[in-house]
Assembly symmetry: C2
Homo-oligomer: 310 residues x 2
């Protein structure tokens, strides 16, 4: 996969920001670790998802590109696919539940996505996306369970390891599994002995349970402040995760909010709750990371400032 990661990175590089890596003496002192924060909150459209969306579209044949892409998402991937598609002059159909927040619809719209509304159920979303694909010939792009997407997301960890090749750990949030799977591939091929640890909300611990049971488990009903992580692992990313993850650390919403607050107050940057799950995991299991050179992927910075948990 090293060659695939390398060609993916080369392919998308003209369309992404090579985001900065920040350090914080105070957070090092608080955790006992030696932390390197990869700031994907500064990525275009505010999250790492831009990387995977670009790669998925760029892998299409010219005739496929002409017909466009379609996804169903109400989160960052919707915006990412819309902006990636616009950057590449490809149409993007975004299926969104009719009760999605107006602000999210406006963001997709501002990035040039063609919004198609549907009933607020997973079934309706899938059916609507399938119908659009059938009607228009657009290619369906899954937000996380797609190898092109996984490779794209892995380029964030690749960039981090290129700057700091001797990282001993990389910690990422775990939601749909694209970022953590891509980071595992990057750690295997660009790290020396770099292990990957996932952070996951206690109430959405499908990945923790899946790795334990050896099969894809579902999330039970529940909620979390880390709304970007309310998703399930998939058939393509699960085997990568199962084979390569060192550990999944589950954290409570309270721990996520505390970690988010630390990042905002101490590092003076805006990250979304899902991003703070990785630092929350480091704070919860300090013994793993004590004295270790540890990368943290800050996955995104798209927050609604009028609904902060502080």
């Amino acid at each position: 996969m090293k060659e695939e990661l390398s060609s993916t990175h080369f392919r998308i590089l003209p369309y992404i920001h090579r985001t900065p890596v920040l350090t914080s003496q105070i957070l090092n002192a608080l955790t006992g670790a030696d932390l390197y924060f990869k700031c994907e909150n500064f990525q275009r459209m505010g999250a790492f998802k831009m990387r995977g969306a670009l790669n998925a579209i760029m892998q299409l044949r010219p005739d496929q590109k002409q017909k466009g892409v379609v996804t169903h998402s109400s989160g960052n991937f919707a915006q990412a696919l819309a902006l990636a598609a616009r950057s590449l002059e490809v149409p993007a159909f975004i299926v969104m539940p009719e009760n999605a927040p107006q602000v999210k619809k406006e963001a997709v719209n501002a990035y040039g996505g063609i919004i198609v509304e549907c009933a607020p159920t997973l079934q309706a979303r899938e059916e609507t996306a399938a119908r659009i694909a059938a009607d228009t010939g657009a290619t369906f792009v899954h937000p996380s369970d797609d190898l092109s997407v996984i490779l794209g997301q892995g380029t964030a960890a690749k960039e981090l390891l290129e700057l700091h090749p001797n990282l001993e750990y990389i910690v990422t949030p775990v939601g749909g599994g694209g970022l953590v799977a891509g980071s595992i591939l990057a750690a295997q091929h660009y790290g020396t002995t770099c292990k990957v640890v996932g952070g996951e909300p206690e109430t959405m611990d499908d990945a923790y349970r899946s790795v334990k049971s050896g099969q894809i488990e579902s999330n039970l009903s529940g909620d979390t402040i880390a709304d970007g992580l309310k998703t399930q692992l998939g058939k393509i990313n699960f085997p990568i995760i199962q084979a390569g993850i060192a550990e999944i650390v589950r954290v409570s919403d309270q721990e996520i909010i505390a970690a988010m607050r630390l990042i905002w107050e101490r590092m003076k940057i805006v990250v979304e709750a899902s991003s703070a799950v990785a630092l929350a995991a480091v704070l919860k299991r300090k013994e793993i990371f004590a004295g270790k050179k540890t990368g943290i992927i800050l996955s995104g910075g798209n927050v609604d400032l009028s609904k902060l948990p502080f």
Copy 2:
């Protein structure tokens, strides 16, 4: 003053961060200007004030350093003087009104400052600081009306101009006058034809009125969200400002909050309300900055997350 600025910068450089300069395509599009944000919110202790505090202490003789420094402030300068003093192994006495927020006292305490409480009046603060100076031999350092402090604050604009020598404007917030005066000196000596514009809250427009009348005017009673700017010009910085300022733009609290929100949402960084005054000024008077290469000093990022104006 070029030599003084240069030696100031050389002197404090081991103790400060050379903060990054960020750009934003979206904010360029919104303002019509070509903006370069100097991120002093990433400075040590979270604000540019660290620069002036360090310079003031480093200029003291060894026997003066041994006796320490004293100031009265409840804001960023208190924390800056405490941390600068600790970095230089000098005692710092910080006079704070007894009703100052606990969080500010804790911050000064955490940076090693020796807090001396007094009644919440300017007179009590000045008297207490004078008494400490007399009792201990500590040197009084004014937060803004001190040439060493002004030169220290000017190093932020100097760094910005070293990266972007052909800036046509630098915009700073105006409070006590140290930052804007220092920036004027830097623009004169390190810019080519760089003009300095100040942003000031409408309700604290002493600088606007002072420049107009030719003498130092007082602020009337009033309030502003930009709490770092509730201060007056002084005898040392006023002549520099009067001689060198291109314009002072007054902005409302509503305009400050809107600018602050744009910086948080679009740039994904945390800045305090006082910092947003500069962008608010650019947004208010777009005709001045249209198409111009414009530096903005983001002065600091110390906010109370539980009291946001959004």
